[in-house]
């Protein structure tokens, strides 16, 4: 489980898409997502579906894994679909049936759900082919110009790294505290009402105390290694645009224009 948090959903297949600079991926996917909002025609939908399928194949991602990303939003998808089916004006399909189902509704609902699925799949391509830390690094680089305006971009990036690093540690800590609680005769599975609230404070207080101590200790560790304010640090992981990034960028532009044209 700890691996899962640090690596996110990263699935290493070593494809061309994995090798792209995270900035290229971030910007391209953002551009394509925006173009989705402009989809109007059926041809446009077909074109984008082909593109998303193409991306999944190029990234050599296991299809099952990609579609698993849809599971958490299945409810929202069905709700959206029903909402449109039932509340769109038009000619009822079955007059006399107590619910007013319209052809327009089914059409509307289908297109909207289709678009949502494509968006989710596209986002999954990004997270499945890029490690969270590389994404953070890409974001840091993209936001870099803002540091001239006094925005602490480096500190922001360090914050993301620390979060990725320490979430598993804090979860472990929580497990430890709950176990010790249980050992002291405090099994929350059997308590109710007011006592349950007391039980939670008895877990949260030690968790806060240790987390704050941990934060202090970390601050010292960061300072002791001469972090300063993070300005002007060099970087081991230099991000470099390669030939393939320009090609990917070009293709993205071409695709977005196509969508606008359709």
């Amino acid at each position: 489980m700890m691996d899962k948090i640090i690596l996110g959903q990263y699935a290493d297949t070593g494809s061309v898409i994995h090798r792209l600079d995270p900035r290229t991926k971030l910007l391209s996917i953002l551009a394509i997502m925006i173009s989705f909002l402009l989809l109007k025609t059926f041809a446009g939908y077909i074109a984008t579906t082909v593109l998303v399928a193409g991306l999944i194949l190029t990234a050599k991602l296991p299809v099952v894994m990609v579609f698993r990303g849809l599971k958490p939003i299945l409810f929202i998808l069905s709700f959206t679909f029903l909402y449109h089916v039932l509340l769109t004006d038009g000619t009822p399909l079955w007059p006399g049936f107590f619910l007013k189902v319209t052809l327009e509704g089914i059409k509307n609902g289908s297109f909207i759900v289709w678009r949502m699925i494509l968006l989710i799949l596209l986002a999954s391509v990004l997270t499945l082919t890029t490690k969270p830390l590389d994404l953070a690094k890409g974001l840091e680089k993209l936001l870099k110009p803002l540091s001239r305006l006094g925005v602490p971009v480096e500190a922001f990036a360090l914050m993301i790294v620390l979060a990725i690093r320490f979430i598993p540690t804090i979860i472990q800590e929580l497990d430890r505290i709950m176990l010790a609680r249980k050992a002291r005769g405090y099994d929350t599975t059997y308590t109710k009402g007011y006592k349950k609230i007391v039980a939670y404070t008895s877990i949260l207080i030690p968790l806060f105390v240790t987390t704050i101590q941990r934060a202090e200790q970390l601050t010292l560790a960061i300072d002791a290694r001469a972090y300063g304010d993070g300005r002007g640090r060099t970087s081991y992981k230099e991000l470099n645009f390669a030939q393939v990034d320009y090609v990917a960028g070009g293709l993205t532009l071409a695709f977005v224009s196509l969508i606008l044209y359709l």
């Binding site: 010790a180 249980k182 050992a183 002291r184 005769g185 405090y186 008895s202 030690p206 105390v209």
Partner: protein
């Protein structure tokens, strides 16, 4: 009271972390549990306390199976006390008094005089009763550790599990704490399960020693037998002998004779070594 395990195995994430473990824990004994990290020591301790819901094999208390919940899962054993590593990190009440009263508060049908019980347990752990109204967070590291241990002792457990209770303490506090726990154990005739990496402490305090190695109980025997006769088990588990025992071996090797000390405790070994040393007539030339 006797706790007994028969052929118990525990699996976690598809890996067997304890394999066919059988042992009995007798009343009034100080039992030390040693072995490398990941050898199964902590799993054993959690199992005894009832913190591992399901396992194969039998766990009995005075020959009776221990109670399980409606789903057949193992329940926490209330008469066992468990002091986790760095127990002071678990403190959550705002005063020492409240922290210590906690166990009594949640105990159903508790009728005793909580205040008197608290004062007695604080005295036992070498804490002044002036500290009752202090915030636990203002105490020193050693005092916090004592409060945390006292909060377990107040429930008067029959069997007390201590997972590296002296880690991070300075030597004076370490000795004081171990002496207090021993005094408690002896006067009340309680069982102590002492998980430790410090072989010197193990040799000094234990009646029995259990060695865990790769998820198995390698051996359970008296400390004297293990450290004075059957040291091969220590070698097998890759554990160092206590320093006094190492000294004994060295002197035996140098003198070419077998020395039989009264026990594996440092004082007894030192006495023997001193007489051998003096018999050889070694003068120290300053």
């Amino acid at each position: 009271m006797v706790y007994a395990l028969k052929d118990v195995s525990v699996s976690m994430n598809g890996r067997e972390v304890l394999q066919s473990l059988s042992c009995t824990l007798q009343e009034g004994k100080w039992i030390s549990v040693i072995g490398h990290n990941g050898a199964g020591k902590s799993t054993f301790a959690k199992l005894i306390k009832g913190l591992i819901p399901s396992f194969s094999g039998e766990y009995t208390y005075n020959q009776q199976p221990l109670p399980r919940d409606s789903k057949g899962n193992m329940r926490v054993v209330p008469q066992i006390g468990y002091v986790f590593q760095n127990p002071e990190q678990q403190i959550f009440e705002t005063t020492v008094y409240k922290e210590l009263a906690f166990a009594q508060k949640i105990k159903k049908g508790h009728t005793g005089d909580t205040k008197a019980e608290i004062e007695s347990v604080m005295h036992q752990m070498g804490l002044s009763s002036d500290l009752l109204d202090a915030s636990p967070y203002q105490l020193s590291g050693g005092q916090k550790r004592r409060v945390a241990i006292a909060s377990v002792l107040i429930a008067d457990p029959e069997l007390l599990i201590l997972d590296e209770p002296t880690a991070g303490l300075d030597p004076l506090s370490r000795i004081a704490l171990l002496e207090e726990i021993r005094a408690w154990q002896r006067t009340k005739n309680r069982t102590v399960i002492f998980i430790s990496h410090q072989m010197e402490d193990v040799a000094e305090y234990s009646d029995e020693v259990m060695i865990f190695n790769r998820g198995r109980l390698l051996v359970q025997m008296s400390a004297n037998d293990l450290f004075l006769q059957h040291t091969a088990f220590m070698e097998q588990a890759g554990l160092p002998l206590p320093e006094p025992v190492q000294l004994l071996k060295l002197i035996e090797e140098l003198s070419g004779r077998i020395i039989e000390p009264v026990s594996c405790r440092e004082e007894d070994i030192m006495q023997q070594v001193r007489s051998v040393w003096q018999a050889r007539g070694i003068q120290h030339d300053g």
